[in-house]
């Protein structure tokens, strides 16, 4: 099958815009009338539903933040009665209270439909055996993918996370063709299979992996695809938006964001102004069809860029790039937004240095100084100081091209920089404000 819903997925842009405007207008009127939270926000912000006369007027509406959802615990922002809700998911709060998301029957249907399109777009369908190795339960990954895969007629193996050896046995015995999990769990499965003497490439039918729920890189994709002989697809979604919802098509060049389901803005997180298309900024999402927990201009904190050019797959819906980091990680160096992930990405392309690095920011007079310390790869070591200076110069040059800001580079001994388990803290900011 080419597309799950070809009429919608390949609708010309003008038609999609018209549809989005109609959905937005309806949403805003509904929330102004029925949601205390949104009504108050709109009044405070001096905007009335009548002011929304074009899609661009979206920008007149107030933002919604993660803290709003937390403050609304458990169901203060819901615009559906309890007896209309058919499910709850709860996202674990790393700081403070968790966030509860309620779903009406229609909400679940929209979510599942979004995934049916997404999974079809990466080549899955009836006849596929899909192993769902995301956690089932309060987390949205397991159940979300479960119903999405069922809807396209695939046979679902709901393994959830853990008991890896058994997962590998089932993968072989049930002729699993696709797996949905986090990239790190798939790598773990790969290692465990090796220990069992099983080659994912030769001894299983696996041909696709739908990976998400944690940051990963193109380098990881290449490694997974080469090692396992499969195609690895990037999936996006957070529980606030319903769960994992959007996925790359077989082009593997950006994630289609269904325009009839959401409106995507990419803003400069400092000025809140839209960035030119293709440039990185914070993704702000409005979900156009959501009943229980409406989401308007939600600051996702995720950094990405938008591509509205036609996709070779034929779908007309815009695509977002692989997430480049979180707004919280963003540094502003001499007025330019810099993400540690950009530094990491640039360094990965230089064989002479390792992926271990630290960023130190300080201020000299009125100017910001950014220093990147990176470990030299032992193979690149030379007794000639000029060779080492050339490596340092090349690293500085590559970083300047990648970041648009000049940085100092220090070459460090292998093993001398801190190693991190879990979330890396690679930035030391010594500036005082």
């Amino acid at each position: 099958m080419i597309a799950w819903d070809p009429n919608m997925e390949m609708m010309p842009e003008a038609g999609l815009k018209k549809l989005q405007f109609r959905l937005l207008k309806t949403l805003v009127y509904r929330l102004y009338s029925f949601s205390n939270f949104y009504h108050e926000r709109m009044v405070q912000h001096g905007v009335h539903p009548d002011d929304i006369t074009s899609l661009d007027d979206l920008r007149r509406l107030p933002f919604m933040y993660k803290t709003d959802l937390r403050d609304g615990y458990p169901d203060k922002i819901f615009t559906a009665e309890q007896d209309e809700l058919v499910r709850y998911h709860v996202s674990s709060g790393t700081t403070g209270k968790p966030t509860v998301v309620g779903y009406t029957k229609h909400d679940l249907d929209t979510w599942t439909e979004s995934l049916a399109r997404a999974l079809t777009s990466c080549g899955l369908g009836r006849g596929d055996v899909v192993q769902v190795s995301y956690g089932y339960g309060l987390f949205t990954g397991g159940l979300g993918l479960h119903y999405g895969a069922e809807r396209i007629g695939a046979s679902v193996v709901p393994t959830s996370v853990g008991n890896t050896e058994r997962q590998i046995e089932l993968m072989q015995d049930l002729l699993v063709t696709a797996i949905c999990c986090t990239p790190s769990y798939l790598m773990h499965i790969g290692d465990a299979a090796k220990k069992m003497g099983v080659s994912i490439r030769d001894d299983t039918h696996l041909r696709a992996a739908i990976l998400g729920a944690e940051p990963w890189s193109e380098q990881m994709r290449t490694r997974i695809e080469d090692e396992m002989g499969i195609r690895a697809y990037n999936i996006y979604g957070t529980s606030e938006l319903s769960g994992p919802m959007f996925c790359e098509c077989t082009e593997q060049n950006g994630i289609h964001m269904w325009s009839d389901i959401c409106l995507v803005e990419i803003l400069d997180p400092e000025t809140d102004e839209p960035v030119p298309e293709g440039e990185k900024g914070e993704m702000v999402v409005t979900i156009l069809q959501k009943e229980a927990l409406p989401i308007i201009r939600y600051r996702t904190g995720d950094i990405t860029s938008l591509d509205t050019s036609p996709c070779p797959c034929g779908r007309t819906h815009p695509r977002i790039a692989r997430l480049a980091g979180r707004v919280d990680d963003m540094l502003i160096i001499r007025g330019i937004n810099v993400f540690p992930s950009q530094v990491e990405h640039a360094l990965l392309g230089i064989p002479a240095v390792s992926g271990h690095f630290m960023i130190e920011v300080s201020r000299r007079g009125a100017l910001d100084d950014m220093l990147v310390r990176v470990e030299l790869n032992p193979e690149a070591f030379s007794d000639k100081i000029n060779d080492l200076m050339a490596i340092r110069g090349m690293v500085a040059h590559t970083l300047k091209n990648a970041l648009n800001v000049s940085v100092d580079v220090e070459i460090a001994e292998p093993g001398s920089l801190p190693r991190f388990e879990g979330k890396a803290k690679r930035v030391i900011d010594r500036r005082e404000y």
């Binding site: 070591f381 007794d383 100081i385 070459i411 001994e413």
Partner: protein, 147 residues
């Protein structure tokens, strides 16, 4: 003449310009009873390369490597200078006549004469050319710890 007999193994160690790194290197070699015969540090902004001629290069490599230092062997040659006025000029002229391209050099005072350590790009050609012109090169055996 086998030019390899005149090829001397220098150990080169990468070091950040941090207090204590040099002491750590020297201390480790002393612990292993390794004699340092010649020694130089090349510094750039933030890092440096320590170069040393030692009597037991393999042992030094092993020890420093185990300590986490980035170490490599570099082939160098050692030319004896006549310890008379004009000795250095004589040497410089010889090297220039021989057309030898020197990457870097450093000197030490040997038992009978001052010795110039040279890192050149083509070691075997340089050895032949210096000996052909009457230069006096140390053999690696002259430096080794064995009597």
């Amino acid at each position: 003449m086998d030019p390899r007999a005149y090829t001397i193994k220098q150990i080169s160690v990468f070091s950040e310009n941090k207090p204590g790194r040099l002491m750590a290197i020297a201390g480790a070699l002393e612990e292993e009873s390794i004699n340092i015969l010649a020694f130089s540090i090349a510094e750039a902004n933030g890092f440096g390369v320590v170069r040393a001629l030692v009597d037991k290069p393999e042992a030094a490599y092993k020890k420093l490597n185990a300590m986490g230092f980035m170490v490599s062997f570099t082939d160098v040659i050692a030319v004896k200078m006549r310890d008379v006025p004009g000795g250095l000029f004589e040497m410089a002229k010889l090297l220039s006549d021989a057309g030898i391209n020197i990457e870097y050099s450093y000197a030490y005072s040997g038992r009978e004469a001052a010795v110039l350590i040279l890192r050149v790009d083509q070691v075997e050609n340089a050895v032949k050319s210096i000996i052909f012109r009457g230069g006096n090169l140390l053999k690696s055996a002259d430096l080794s710890g064995s009597p």
